[in-house]
């Protein structure tokens, strides 16, 4: 079976795979941004460098989607995740069966397979720390 990390990425600028980590940008004042931007969204400096984002954060809020447009498989879980930095980002949440997350739970980033138009692609997700 193909390693999920060998799949084509959903987008080329979202993560690195060795080891797996989200990629963002940061200006000289330390303002981080995800996805990567060629300027700082806080101070508008164009002197920004690529960074690997922290691998762990906390759940700001979450939902399980039970109805979606055709082509999107349901149900699936979504969360806003707060990473130290600070960056708040939207992500799929991978949950073991029967597990209920809570606001404030610690999560960490993992590689994830996403099927788009019948093609398997590599993207990112977060999962609960105690279920790692």
């Amino acid at each position: 079976m193909t390693n999920v990390l060998d799949l084509p990425p959903l987008r080329s600028d979202l993560f690195t795979t060795e080891p797996f980590a989200l990629l963002g940008t940061q200006c000289e004042s330390g303002h981080a941004s995800f996805p990567s931007r060629d300027f700082c969204p806080v101070c508008y400096s164009t002197d920004v460098q690529p960074i690997e984002l922290p691998r762990s954060g906390t759940v700001e809020t979450f939902t399980t989607v039970h109805q979606a447009p055709p082509g999107v498989t349901v149900p699936y879980h979504l969360a806003f995740v707060r990473l130290p930095g600070p960056v708040v980002l939207l992500s799929r949440l991978q949950l073991a069966t029967g597990v209920e997350p809570k606001i404030g739970d610690e999560v960490h980033v993992v590689p994830s397979l996403m099927r788009v138009d019948d093609v398997d692609q590599l993207t990112f997700a977060f999962e609960l720390k105690e279920h790692a």
Partner: protein, 384 residues
Amino acid sequence: MTRTAVHAVGAGMVRFGKYPKSVTLEKMAVSAARSALSEANATPQNIDALYLGTVLGGSVAGQRVAAQLGMSGQPVTNLENACSSGATAVRDAWVAVSSGLHDVVLVVGAEKMTDRISGGILADPSDLDAATGLIMAANHAMSARRYMHDHGATRAQIAAVAVKNHAHSVHNPFAQYQHAISLAQVLEARTIADPLGLLDCSPISDGAAALVVANTAGLARLGVDRNHPRILGCGLVSGTLRDGTRSINEEDISRRGGEAAWNMTGIDPSDVDFVEMHDCFTIAEIVRMEGLGLIPRGEGGRWAEQGLTALGGKLPVNPSGGLLSRGHPVGATGVAQACELTWQLRGQAGDRQVTGARTGLAYCKGGTVAGTDGASVTTLVMQA
């Protein structure tokens, strides 16, 4: 910019709902436009321009409507700002008429959705949030969960918004739904994105709404008097770049939309007698009213539960039934809100009339863009 007074002299709608394929966008738009023109004592030939808002209507939808309406050669502008497309058309019409560029303008919002949308709406496929699966319902579900966590609000308080808005539209002949619903029905409806269920979501709808606006020269041309509600102004803001420190319910875009309206009109928030609010989802009405500063933070759920935002309450919100119950043909919604303000301010809203309505606010929000707090918010202020 020097601005002259602008009046809403005609309003017209077709009932929002689900129509067969043969009832086209053009037919609905022409029907709404003829009603508005008739109220305004205007004809397609003696108006100066058409501004049309639509999202799914395709290229030059406004010119297609103009050709069936009987306009010939006048300027036509098509506007797309997602769910605030119609509201943006109202704004641009107001700008044109208040500046004197035009004297009488027709605004139309029109959408034919039921034959092309199912299951919910995703942002543009190029957007990272959309690729991750952020349907609109999911975004608002996460807002609701966080709101309940932060403010101790109950699921029932959020559901009370749907009960209230359905109760209002029992009296609105243009509403898609004209029946009351119970709290139990909202709570027991099929889950879409938890904690929100089907009745927390505005429906997918077809419909059209139209408004005729005129300045003083326009009133003279049409031979109508000045006793028509005035458009005092319409704010428009877009999202700011998210700096990562915000919470999902900060609603800074709503605060800025409100500021734009108060600053350009000189109206104080306490002057607002009623609101037509973009309640695409129950929770959205609550957090946006709080973002505007019209309801204290964290109290919107209790206000809905206690009837403070119902007709006869402290600050009636969505006397029309709102998007939840009037329906939400996306490009038409902002113009329908302006029609409701017009009828309310004339005292012609029948059994859904807000007593003593003198100043009304209509808030429309359209679209999401990853990395920002929204795409567009409009804030229309009208006065009797």
